[in-house]
């Protein structure tokens, strides 16, 4: 593969790319290949190396949220929320266009944690899958101890995570979730949705 690239770049060199640029690019390609080989052993998904650090969540918050999202869209014979990187979608979006929900996540996850400790005497992540389902249903229906919840309410928090999990799993991969088009593949949808080479400037085709 790096052979092809070098040929391609060498071709571009004739059109004005400097020799130094070519060498730099070659070096980057080579380095990328080396890292890729080293880290991809045992990983099924292309390009996934060490998980990037979260922008908003602490490691502990992320761990809990990943477990909740996996309940919402579990892995079976096809990818689930964890495989599809839903956590990265949520983390990125609430550090961007959905920043207004940061507080709800911070407080909601804390209430969620306390709820499980009080009701099940165990952190959510450590419950068996079926127990996790029960715990989540309790919160969805607003039946967990109310004194552990303020704003967001338990129902509101559940609905928020539900909606964002669906977005991360079923939305476009460009926002951090739906890795490898997991949901499109599951639904049998053609991807990516290619169109012509049309480009616009000032509203007119160029």
């Amino acid at each position: 593969m790096s052979q092809d690239l070098i040929v391609g770049i060498a071709g571009a060199n004739g059109d004005g790319v400097s020799r130094r640029t070519v060498l730099k690019l070659v070096a980057v390609v080579a380095l990328g290949a080396a890292v890729g080989v080293g880290a991809s052993a045992g990983i099924t998904h292309w390009g996934r190396t060490a998980p990037p650090p979260y922008r908003f969540f602490s490691e502990a918050e992320a761990k809990l949220l990943i477990a909740i999202c996996e309940q919402i869209i579990p892995r079976d014979d096809t990818s689930g929320a964890t495989d599809a990187g839903v956590i990265y979608y949520i983390d990125r979006q609430i550090s961007g266009p959905l920043a207004r929900h940061q507080q709800s996540y911070r407080l909601g996850l804390a209430s969620f944690r306390k709820t499980c400790l009080q009701v099940y005497k165990t952190p959510f992540e450590e419950l068996a899958f079926e127990q996790q389902t029960d715990a989540l249903r309790l919160i969805e229906e607003g039946n967990a101890p109310n004194d552990l919840w303020g704003d967001p309410s338990q129902k509101a928090f559940f609905d928020l995570v539900l909606d964002h999990t669906r977005q991360g799993f079923y939305g476009s991969p460009r926002h951090g979730g739906n890795r490898d088009y997991a949901s499109y593949r599951m639904l049998g949808l053609a991807y990516p949705n290619l169109i012509g080479q049309n480009r616009y400037a000032n509203g007119r085709p160029i």
Binding site: T133, R166, L187, L189, G203
Partner: protein
């Protein structure tokens, strides 16, 4: 700063405003067109469902943005909440050049003759401001035709016996039915109904210098990558600009119509793209900012003779907010009816728009635009789980196996469903924002029950194994189909403009957008908004020759 005076200043380059700009500029008037948004650029959003105008999870791709705009929503229990443009309760349509016509689904319905005469056809409805339009289908017919030819509609009404008379055929052949559509056509025909292809503001063949549709699955909610979907941005606006008489200023937010002490409109005060306060004086002022924003602008324009806002001495501005209560039925079907051919809605049925025993009005039914995967998460029979393996299984199993028929119920106008101006909350420019309050008229529950049951009966006959209805709700209407807030009428006491969109008592102030609708039909509204814009322009052009508005 104040600019030199022009003949006409228009606020809003959407469905209505785009057409008026072209008509006036071509007639030789000097025009300034103020639009708060900008040209939509396809590259910035492509086929991303989370940045679709239909499901704007990450913000409205076609505006307005969440950063600078706000509204106040009043719940039926009286509590209020500040809402952002990408939230449903904001009741958004769009905010870019072309307005809703860039990202719309492009269904191109004419209203039926009865839609303009609901009150005289059906009589009074209790606690409603139901009224006839001051103009008839026949008045608008030539202007519907003009919209169909100038913007461009593909259709064929051979099998639709219910439509009003038309002088010319559609300029383009109809689109073929998709798989789901064919199943519905077979079934409905067998049941004695009259299905026909949905007329579309979309090129079925190359037309007006633009190519034919390439059938993207991401069509409704998105801009067209090849410009096959026709809006004002790629049809009339380029013509307006080419005359040299129309100056388009983007990123300009109108704040107020300047009305002098003698009751004449003098121009528009606005903030330009650098947020500087500006004034554009003009001989006549045209407001085409959509039903919610037009009402807001009038209400924010207080003057000596109109202390409660321009044209609002009888307190009708902002009332009678309408849209469409969408109802219908869904069915799960063995056959794979999904087809990778957007936008997906292909068949319409008009048998239930009028003449339904015991019912005022009714509505059209059509199969649905393709539901992209995120939106499909809520397409569920009652009682289906919202999450977990069962939800995922449903997605996987039925995504391509749903037949749908849904439609807009003709809403009964409710005076208390309204846009007012919030006394406290302001947008980023310090302009008081829309306050939305009220509910639909209770009668709409009846219309919604009726239409959804008709849809259910058809879906059951398609061979679907599991069928469910989506019934009506009283939730305040508006949104994409917003209309009715500055209704036209012959009586200045019960309307805001005369039959030509001219605001009562302010001869040089006009409106041309969904606000004018007295009632909103049992159809998507945009072709009627376009026809009205031609109608209003025609009146202005005629009067202009005698310098009536100078």
């Amino acid at each position: 700063m104040s600019f030199p005076k022009v003949n006409a200043v228009i606020v809003g380059a959407g469905a209505g405003g785009g057409i008026v700009a072209k008509e006036l500029a071509l007639a030789g008037l000097s025009v300034v067109l103020l639009e708060r948004g900008d040209w939509a650029r396809y590259d910035e959003h492509n086929d991303d469902e989370l940045q679709s105008q239909r499901t704007p999870a990450l913000g409205n791709p076609f505006g307005p943005d969440d950063r600078r705009h706000r509204r106040v929503f009043v719940y039926p229990n009286g509590s209020t909440r500040i809402v952002l443009p990408s939230e449903g309760a904001y009741s958004n349509n769009a905010g870019c050049i072309g307005g809703g016509t860039v990202s719309y689904g492009a269904m191109a319905w004419r209203f039926m003759p009865q839609d303009f005469r609901l009150r005289s056809t059906y009589g009074e409805v209790k606690d409603s401001t139901l009224e006839d339009w001051p103009i008839s289908y026949d008045d608008l017919e030539p202007f519907y035709e003009k919209a169909e030819y100038e913007i461009g509609v593909a259709g064929d009404y051979t099998n639709n016996p219910f439509c009003g008379p038309r002088k010319k055929p559609f300029p383009m052949p109809a689109f073929p039915y998709n798989k789901e559509g064919r199943r519905i056509v077979e079934t409905a025909t067998r049941m004695g109904l009259h299905p026909f292809p949905i007329p579309m503001l979309r090129n079925s063949v190359p037309y007006n210098g633009r190519p034919a549709c390439i059938h993207m699955r991401s069509c409704v909610g998105f801009a067209c990558p090849v410009n096959a979907k026709a809006g004002t941005h790629n049809t009339v606006l380029p013509i307006a600009l080419a005359t040299g008489n129309c100056q388009l200023r983007t990123g300009c937010v109108a704040a107020e119509i300047i009305v002098d002490d003698r009751g004449h409109a003098r121009g528009v005060r606005y903030f330009d793209s650098d947020n500087r306060a500006q004034e554009q004086p003009a001989d006549l002022v045209m407001i085409s900012a959509s039903a919610t924003e037009t009402a807001r602008l009038l209400l924010n324009s207080k003057s000596k003779l109109f202390p409660n806002g321009a044209g609002n001495n009888n307190d009708w501005v902002g009332h009678n907010l309408q849209g469409h209560c969408y109802v219908g039925a869904f069915g799960l079907i063995e056959e794979e009816v999904y087809e990778e051919a957007g936008p997906g809605a292909t068949v319409g049925i008009s048998d239930f728009n009028h003449g339904n025993p015991g019912l005022v009005g009714g509505g059209m039914l059509a199969n649905e635009f393709i539901d992209l995967p995120y939106r499909f998460c809520d397409v569920r029979p009652p009682g289906e789980p919202r999450w977990g393996k069962a939800h995922k299984d449903f997605q996987r199993r039925y995504y391509k196996h749903v037949v749908r028929l849904i439609g807009p119920v003709q809403e009964i106008p409710n005076f208390s469903a309204r846009v007012s101006v919030d006394p406290a909350v302001k947008d980023a420019w310090g302009i008081p924002v829309c306050r939305l309050s009220g509910t639909r008229h209770p009668y709409d529950l009846q219309g919604g029950e009726f239409l959804s049951k008709k849809a259910e009966a058809i879906i059951k006959e398609t061979g679907a194994t599991r069928v469910w209805r989506n019934g009506p709700s009283l939730w305040l209407s508006g949104g994409q189909h917003q209309a009715g807030t500055c209704r036209m009428g012959n009586d200045p006491k019960t309307s805001v403009t005369n039959r030509f969109g001219q605001v009562h008592q302010i001869d040089n102030l006009f409106i041309a957008d969904g606000s004018l609708h007295v009632t909103n039909g049992g159809f998507n509204p945009v072709l009627t908004i376009m026809a009205l814009a031609y109608w209003v322009s025609d009146y202005i052009k005629t009067g202009w020759k005698g310098s009536k508005f100078r």
